[in-house]
């Protein structure tokens, strides 16, 4: 099928959302279902068809959502009602709305965006220290079956 001319294609808008909490790494499919459910329950089937939601990317603590142009406001309201994706309780905080994916990617690659992982050993156990924007550091145990509450401090860039 020949590709359509740019002037004949649907105008789209792209929304960049930060996943909260930073340690939630939801499946892209689960996020898509959550977004579609939120849009459909809020705006109905005809509204959802008009908005045409799609999840394009779900990585590094961000979700990129696409909608038709002039439906960004409806999409933003629906995204604010997302509370869960699959098993994960989460929220999608809107960061940026752009007309191109280029603008979204540029924002995602800005220094300080997303999170950085550092491996930390403590009492012979491996942890991942996830530093998010806003000076937060979340410590995630590698062994998922035994959650443990840890109190830690950061001294000269080293998590203790």
């Amino acid at each position: 099928m020949p590709s359509r001319l740019p002037s004949q294609r649907d105008r789209r808008r792209y929304l960049l959302c930060r996943v909260i909490p930073a340690w939630a790494e939801p499946e892209p499919r689960a996020v898509f279902h959550a977004v579609c459910e939120a849009v459909t329950t809020l705006w109905g089937d005809t509204g959802a068809a008009d908005i045409a939601p799609a999840v394009l990317d779900c990585s590094r603590g961000y979700v990129v959502v696409r909608c038709r142009r002039n439906t960004e406001a409806q999409m933003a309201a629906a995204l604010a009602t997302v509370t869960r994706a699959g098993e994960n309780r989460l929220a999608l905080r809107q960061v940026l709305t752009s007309g191109t994916l280029h603008g979204i990617r540029r924002r995602m690659q800005e220094p300080g965006a997303g999170w950085t992982d550092t491996q930390v050993m403590r009492d012979g156990r491996a942890f991942t220290a996830r530093r998010s924007a806003g000076q937060k550091v979340d410590l995630i145990a590698e062994e998922k079956k035994s959650p443990e509450l840890l109190f830690f401090t950061e001294d000269e860039g080293v998590v203790k």
């Binding site: 909260i20 406001a73 604010a80 009602t81 905080r93």
Partner: protein, 190 residues
Amino acid sequence: MALEAREAGLDSLAAAGAPSGEIHGVRLFSAAVIHEQTVKGVIAALRAAAKGSDLVLVDAGDQGFNRAVISLRGVDVIRQVHRAPNGAFTHVTARMAADHGVALEFDLQPLVHLRGWPRQRVLQSHARLLRLQRKYGFPATVATNARSMLDLRSPREMAALTRLFGMGEEETLRALATPPALSGRRREGP
């Protein structure tokens, strides 16, 4: 939660039971939430909450209860109006709230968490309250009633949610600025 609030673009939070102060650049207002169902109970709770609280919020009840509570000294905000019985908040109560400077809360929590007809009922209730607010000019607040950072919403998201029942962005921002103003009034005294 304070860090997340700052990230979301909020400069202050009202938290029940928390001491007032500043954490990570976010101003904390100490709020007392009164869940009593009788005016007598509210008066007793108000006496206890008078000291050390920047804001006093009372759950709405039926019309008689609301009228009595609005005229009580020390009540800043009436909350959960959408859960009150039909006709609990009328033009008479609206005029009283405007006269006494008592704010009415638009709760966004049910808009986020509910689905289907329960959410539709909340939207209807909020739209009705907004009509009264525009006509009588009583103060309004917008609250997420967040219990964790997952329930917090940024001002931009709150504006998107309030648009669902017809509130404009400027009105939302004005409503967000109401709690600090009420707290300042309380500190200055009568």
